[in-house]
């Protein structure tokens, strides 16, 4: 083999970088996913849980646009119930703690919503 000094060192760097997900996790414990603290006194969010899981960010984005740009603060859910389109007053009245609810998933999946550049994050039961 020619130029083995360069070829081998380059190859080692390449393999180390591309196998990082495997060796980087050797020491870590098994990952079990985020632990949410759900509101104790409520069984049902404003929409079904699958919808909320997938679309909550879209919903909040629509709420922001309709409430702040069109002045419409009423949201009619798919089951006919009406809600006030407000993050602070509606969502956070049940999900009272940002750190224990929003952040659990967001931090582990590196999602950084910009809700909290305007809104005050509720600290909940502290």
């Amino acid at each position: 083999m020619y130029n083995s000094k360069y070829v081998i060192s380059g190859l080692v760097i390449f393999l180390a970088v591309f196998s990082y997900p495997f060796w980087g996790n050797l020491a870590s414990k098994d990952y079990t996913g985020p632990k949410l603290s759900l509101p104790a006194d409520q069984k049902q969010c404003i929409e079904p849980v699958e919808f909320m899981r997938a679309e909550h960010m879209t919903l909040l984005n629509q709420w922001r646009d309709s409430a702040l740009r069109d002045g419409k603060r009423v949201y009619v859910a798919s089951n006919g119930a009406t809600w006030e389109a407000s993050l602070q007053k509606t969502c956070m009245s049940c999900h009272t703690n940002k750190a224990e609810f929003c952040d659990t998933c967001h931090l582990e999946n590196a999602v950084e919503p910009y809700c909290w550049t305007c809104h005050v994050p509720p600290k909940g039961n502290e």
Binding site: N25, Y31, N109, V111
Partner: protein, 331 residues
């Protein structure tokens, strides 16, 4: 072109059907492991195979003044005469695609042949590669807990426009636009179309499928990424979590399948230019053939005969014939 397009569509449908018909374990567990092994081993094998090939001639490509007399300014990057120049040229080639920047286009304007600079290939190739790199780096949020520090920084910059929710990452549309250019160039530029083969179209369509399913998963046909991370982390811990796998939507399988095909295809295709660029003799040699002798490694061992040996053999007859000799023959 059509065949490779159909092949990629068929692969997508295969993965979709497979995930519906109970092949989740094969698609979600067996295939990714196989793909990673094939990719890493195949890549290393190709590189070592190339590194074993001797370079018979000194063949660097040059694009500027060679180093010569001291008052003539040499082009150190385009015609490197030493290691530093080679490193500089290689780094700029890999990071900036300088050779594509030199791309020209020829056309006939009236009765004249006109050569003009054509930077689009360079521009879109650069957009494609860097977007793909950023997308790759962003995926590390699924590969480690806690999320590596660089992922948040990259996401912040990538989503700095703060469009919509989930926040639009610029690299998504950019990589699609760049891919469409690269595909369109092969279809609508007659000269390029003439030399394009299945192996040129297939990776483009495959990567297009990979990116399209990824974008679809983020913005349109959402999957539960918390579960995806649980599953991916379980794969990385070598204890696949089939319960989590069963909860993930079919589009994820299509995405994974495209990725697995890409990884397995990579070492055996033109995509190996990723490693091959470093091993190109035209790029990694210095143009120093006037300073150093380049010996072809496969030349047979040379048998030399010095004058002393020659004289030792013929000293007596030479002296007898009156020819001058270095050492007088013994009487």
């Amino acid at each position: 072109m059509i065949i490779s397009l159909l092949a990629v569509i068929a692969l997508g449908i295969l993965a979709w059907m497979g995930s519906m018909m109970g092949f989740q374990y094969v698609l979600g567990v067996c295939l990714p492991y196989t793909a990673v092994i094939v990719f890493l081993v195949g890549f290393a094998w190709r590189i070592i195979d190339w590194a074993k090939r001797p370079v018979p001639f000194s063949i660097p490509t040059t694009g500027g003044q060679q180093k010569s007399l001291p008052w003539i300014k040499p082009a150190t990057l385009d015609n490197p005469s030493d290691k530093a120049g080679v490193w500089g040229r290689m780094i700029l080639e890999v990071l900036m695609f300088r050779s594509l920047f030199r791309n020209t286009n020829v056309s006939i304007e009236g009765d004249r042949v006109v050569y003009w600079s054509s930077k689009f290939l360079w521009l879109f190739a650069l957009i494609f590669h860097y977007s793909f790199l950023i997308i790759f780096v962003r995926h590390f949020r699924f590969f480690a807990e806690p999320v590596p520090f660089f992922v948040n920084g990259v996401e912040m910059i990538d989503g700095i426009l703060q469009i919509g929710a989930p926040r639009l990452f610029m690299t998504g549309p950019l990589v699609i636009v760049a891919l469409l250019y690269l595909i369109g160039r092969r279809i609508f530029n007659q000269k390029v179309r003439y030399i394009s083969l299945l192996s040129d179209y297939f990776p483009l369509f495959l990567i297009f499928g990979l990116c399209a399913t990824g974008i679809a998963m983020r913005y349109f046909m959402k999957v539960d990424i918390a579960t995806v991370k649980v599953f991916v982390m379980s794969l990385l811990h070598f204890s696949p979590d089939t319960a989590a796998l069963a909860k993930i939507g079919s589009i994820f399988y299509v995405h994974m399948f495209f990725l697995a095909v890409l990884l397995m295809y990579f070492p055996f295709s033109k995509l190996m230019h990723a490693g091959g660029v470093f091993l190109s003799p035209t790029r990694n040699m210095a143009n120093d053939s006037r300073m150093k002798l380049h010996v072809n490694p496969w030349n047979p061992e040379k048998v030399y005969r010095t004058y002393e040996e020659y004289e030792d053999e013929f000293r007596v007859p030479m002296a007898e014939a009156g020819l001058p000799v270095v050492k007088k023959p013994e009487e």
